[in-house]
Symmetry: C2
Subunit: 418 residues, 2 copies
Amino acid sequence: MGFHADMVEIGDQAVKASRTLASLTSRKKDAILEAMVGELEGRRDELKVANAEDLKRAEKEGLSSAMLDRLELTDARMDAMIKGIQDVVSLKDPVGTTISSWIRPNGLEIQKVRVPIGVIGMIYESRPNVTVDAATLCFKTSNAVILRGGSESIHSNKALAKVLQEGGKKKGLPEGTIQLVETTDREAVKELVHLVGKVDVIIPRGGEGLIRMITKMSHIPVIKHYQGNCHTYVDESADLEMALEISENAKCQRPGVCNAMETLLVHEKVAAEFLPTLVQRLRIHGVELRGDEIACTIDSSINEAKEDDWYTEYLDLILAIRIVPDVKAAIEHVNQYGSHHSDAIVASSEGAQKMFTQEVDSSTVYVNASTRFTDGAEFGLGAEIGISTDKLHARGPMGLEELTTYKYIVLGKGQIKE
Amino acid sequence: MGFHADMVEIGDQAVKASRTLASLTSRKKDAILEAMVGELEGRRDELKVANAEDLKRAEKEGLSSAMLDRLELTDARMDAMIKGIQDVVSLKDPVGTTISSWIRPNGLEIQKVRVPIGVIGMIYESRPNVTVDAATLCFKTSNAVILRGGSESIHSNKALAKVLQEGGKKKGLPEGTIQLVETTDREAVKELVHLVGKVDVIIPRGGEGLIRMITKMSHIPVIKHYQGNCHTYVDESADLEMALEISENAKCQRPGVCNAMETLLVHEKVAAEFLPTLVQRLRIHGVELRGDEIACTIDSSINEAKEDDWYTEYLDLILAIRIVPDVKAAIEHVNQYGSHHSDAIVASSEGAQKMFTQEVDSSTVYVNASTRFTDGAEFGLGAEIGISTDKLHARGPMGLEELTTYKYIVLGKGQIKE
């Protein structure tokens, strides 16, 4: 394919920067991040002006109020961005740490050492804060980043990238470390995901459609964040009061996120006791319930679920309910219909707990806790660049370590192969 | 795209098997592997008959003697296969081990646990021993595998897969764990790499053309093993006797493999002293030398190198030679022209060593040793399924650990998100 000269140039710049970044000390990187904080603080007005341009265009184009809200750079949001960078400063830099080392019988010392991935391509939708999050997390791990945000937030993103670049430069940020694709041309995305040998990984953040499109198109490995069709299974051995609390929390505390529960599985032996109370509790939140035949018999206010419901990530106050004969059937349901994201068992039986955690093929499996905890901050990773639903390289919340790879350094004294 | 029913069936069988495999104990898996060994021992004649069919067809089709040699299942090779399985038995099973665990302030206990990847698609060329290596390594790590070997070895592969399946079955190998694609139709490869949601990773083994073709075609992550364009850099601080030994070994001990040296970089201050002796040594092995202008001036028997030479993986008794002004220039050359596989520095200066190991962006960087050691067995990994030139998930020699991923198991006492 033919490339725009500027995209190849961006790729080359990023590769060049990544070579320099590999040997920056953590102290130096933190000083640069602090300089970015100072710059953001000092140039809030400039950012608001740029953001106003995006908002004006968005209003003119009739974007929904939810979209407009996502776009807006309020003072509170700028505070949060700045706090985010300060958090990144306080995190331990994984680059350069030795994962393991050993000595071979021939005296060779093998060190497995954590190193940056190199160049990361971030493709994301409307929210401008991703520009700052991604840039600073990638930089903290000595990666160069190429940012491609949504066209709706192009002015905000350009202003944010400029402020980060100019702030960082005061303390020696290598040129080309943080680059934003300034054209909103869709062709540019295609070119970005074809920069084989320049870009090492693509991380898309946004709706499932965007991610699928990019995955199909890309010749570069993509770390994907598909949907979270999460389950809670209430075993016959469950503390039903606990099950009630967990189910309510997993469904209602914030229904629009990927770690919210979408389907509840209930052991047949406790369904008649558990369901009616649960239904009452969920009704208060206005949850629509869609159950299988048995569930509908137990509580007539439950609507009938269709096969499609088991596959659906509602991201809304809707819950599918299925009654299962045992933990094995629950596991089979989760593995067949789920999205391998976050699934929970509520049980006091250790046998059931063990079987569920071992056999459910999901990135996070909970015992007696809400699925809502799948998140970099809740896990104590400090920050996250996304939640991977892939199995390779990174699975679940992706923090700083997942933005690194490793190399082997082998120290010899003249060894040659026999 | 339309799928042959049988490829979808193979994928479903593999997924089903992978669910069962996740909870097999190491002891059980080893007993199954031992049963495979017994079966291979007892059915050598049957394997030879099948292999003879492949050899007959290959001869008829006029395959080169090198290809015929690769195809042949001699007794020595069957011994090696059996020894290979016994080695796999003796390796520690990484599945189920806890990588790390910690407790959060809210009391949640987070365990990061090693688990199988799931279903692995192996696509390989002529050598039938890959059938046994891949099947047993994947099984030891509780992965189901779909094998797609070259058409030249189809009879041998079918016989080997059958023997492994039937041997394993005697001790309870789950059906669908080891499946061989029996059609040699090229369309089947395309279908295999489109089985999204069934196959978790594709590992191709073979020439670069095959790997590039599969990477472009696949909708499933591919772990790639491209070329090894490996360098040795002789610093001004090098022990030149050591540099001589290492260079000779890296180039001549086995020139046709990916970790052999292809380009030698020499610091200008030692070039006049080092090169003539090296040339003498390499001439004995019949190595053709292609150098830059300075190298040609130092030794008139060196031919002139072209720009292309720096990019070339000769896999032959040819060596490119370039004179560089310092370690920085050597690093730049390696990063620009190399393939990020294995590169060595010979130096006594710690500064030069550190700069080289830190800035060379390769999976394995050597100090004062031959590049020929990049290999699972030499690293002490016990066995390898390939050498990854990727940066994600696995880099360098891939042993058992690289055939696993992880999941988070989170243990609570009723925690809900505030």
